[in-house]
Amino acid sequence: MADAAPDLQKITESVENLKTELEAHRYICSDQIATAVYLAYHLRKPILIEGPPGVGKTELAKTTADMFALPLIRLQCYEGLDEAKAIYEWKYGKQLLYTQVLKETLDEVLQGAKGFAESVSRLHEFGDIFFSEEFLEPRPLMKALQAEAGCILLIDEVDKSDHEFESLLLEMLSDYQLSIPEIGTLKAVNEPPLVFLTSNNTREISDALKRRCLHLYIPFPDLELEQRIIHARVPEIPPELRRQLVKFIHELRGLDLKKVPAISETIDWARTLLLLHTETLEPQLVRDTLNVILKFQEDIENVNSELTTLTSQALK
């Protein structure tokens, strides 16, 4: 699929084309999601994706990278992430080593220099070299700008990072450039990267960041869409069982749970059931495999008591 260079022009021509292409890469999506990618591509704007965990936020970025056959550069955010880890760092070791070398050859360099002023100006030339791109260790954001053919930049879970980091991103997101005090401003080489930011909404993202992005909210899919997703991801599962298990998951989402099962859990469960050669949902079977879809003991206990009714409802 991705080995032949994809026909970008055709893919990005319309929302429908994008949607079918995403589906060809086993990412089943709603029109809203396809529209988001379409707009992001044409307007060259980052997409901020929000939604409950496990609805395919990160997956969308990965699939898009696959679809456009572009490298995916990923920056996982966490508390304490700073520019040294996100943008660039000086190769201190290398700088030190070169200083040593320079020290030894200092005499040669300064030979013939007339007076102090000229010596200093000669040394200055070296000073500039030490702070050039040669000595720069690029981190994800800078790598993304330097990618020759463009790339997909995924800034994952941006809500986990600090406020300071958010502000750091602003320049990158609005102008696709980064300022490095010693060197100047770095601009995107050719194509600016297509940026995806994901957030689980553990805190509000600042308005300044939101303003620079398209905002896509991915909710849990409806019955029909989720069935198609399962079909794409676990094609071996029989249709009847697929219908039942998706229905069951939807029933669960209606309950008051600490963490409701997401699509990724549905897929895992489908694989589990397939492995167990299941043909139809039964209360006992569900009870045994409940830990695949529910991740809190409290939730499991809550659901256990209503398991029979839930299962019979799913079978309807």
Partner: protein, 507 residues
Amino acid sequence: MERTLTNFIHALRSSDVRVSTAETLDAFNAVELVGYEDRGALKRSLALVLPKTADEKETFDLCFDQFFKFTDIRGDRDGSDAEDAANEYSEDAADGQDGEGGAGGDNPPTGSATDAKGKRKSKAKSKGKKAETTAAEDADAEEEDLGPGKMSEPSSELARLLMNDSKVELSIATAQAGEAVGVRDIQVFTQKGLYTRRIMEQMGLADLNREISDLRGSRRIPQRRLGQNLRQRREWLREQVRDYVERQFLLHADADGRRLREELLRKVKLSNVEQRNFRLIQDVVFKMAKRLAALHSRRKKVFKRGQLNLPRTLRHNMSYDGAIFDLHWKSVKIDRPKVFAICDVSGSVANYARFMLMFLYSLEEVMPKVRSFAFSSDLAEVTELFERNKIEDAIAKTLRDYAGGSTDYGQAFVDFKKHCLDDVDNRTTIIILGDARNNYGDPRTDILKEMYDRCKRLIWLNPEPRNSWYVGDAEMRKYTAYSHQVEECNSLMHLERIVGNLLKTVQ
């Protein structure tokens, strides 16, 4: 089209969706890309650009549906034939795109719409004459029966528009007239009639009326026939314009009106809030809370200059060959305020307690550690109620279970001491809400003093105005001595100020 979009954004703003200028530009770019042809695509694209939270998306959906209502001026008369419904559908869709223009643009019809119009015209001509005149007979039975036949040509501009059966042009004319009389400035619903009339006048109602009366007075039958017809169409137009004004009102004025009401509600005494305004007040509380949360969501650090963070410093200076010149200091993250709210929920103060609890729990994001207690005579902790239920339900349950009974502050303090005085530490802020009217019981200031000594801050909020604090059975004088701060608090504005200060000083 640009006008339409800016108008739409204006409408969004008035329903509390924050749209910046930059986003407006984005919207234009997006629309340029997807065009106006496909309503679904337009909506999806704008939904990506304009609203930026889940709440805003909901508002956006509503607003979009209302604003881009494509059946702007529907010819119910000529489109009623069932057999035509199917083929009409496609045309209506095409008409629809132009209908947007009707929502406020003074733009020329696009190519596709002109096509559709052409088709419609020819069709209307063929079937229209029969259908309309028969309809006319049905409606105006008392009018003289002129029978089907030739009608004379209308003379005034509005009449021509009406007889043209062109919904698109009519809707554009309506919108233009609406703009001209400034329908967007409409403020209260009683103005609807006024604006309807003004728009009709702007569209040339006077000419039309004159023409109709002339025609009806005429002796020639085709002219009388036209007169009848025009009269019906005038009524129909009046209805359409009324609809249009109604929509504009909902889009623009309703939001303004709501803002006005909210503004008032912030200042009104909370005990005077009527039941029917509770919903609105809740919205206001949530909104205020959200603003405060946004303001204080940053967790600050305090750097203890002078205390070196040795491990961190060493790690960072490794790359400098171990020469320590990049120093890192120890820092402490400031804790979120730990709040104990003790609320008197006896009859007179219950309403205040309701809104204060609502406020505190809406601030969960920045104040995760709220414990609440309710009492009228005996005190009980209700924190768990709030954890398990929605805020409104929890408040209702609290009031149901603990209100009633005569107030006894002494007993409440005794209970508090028994249950959780040990949990009060030097980071705790205690907020007591009550009127301090103790029915001449023992005020137990000794316990209050104990609380005062242990906690970081003790704030007493009294809903009564200051001058009645020391009257009758009120023990405010005694309690004031053992509070860090006493405040009069009987409106949302007071609440906002106090909680805002709390967040500021504690953080």
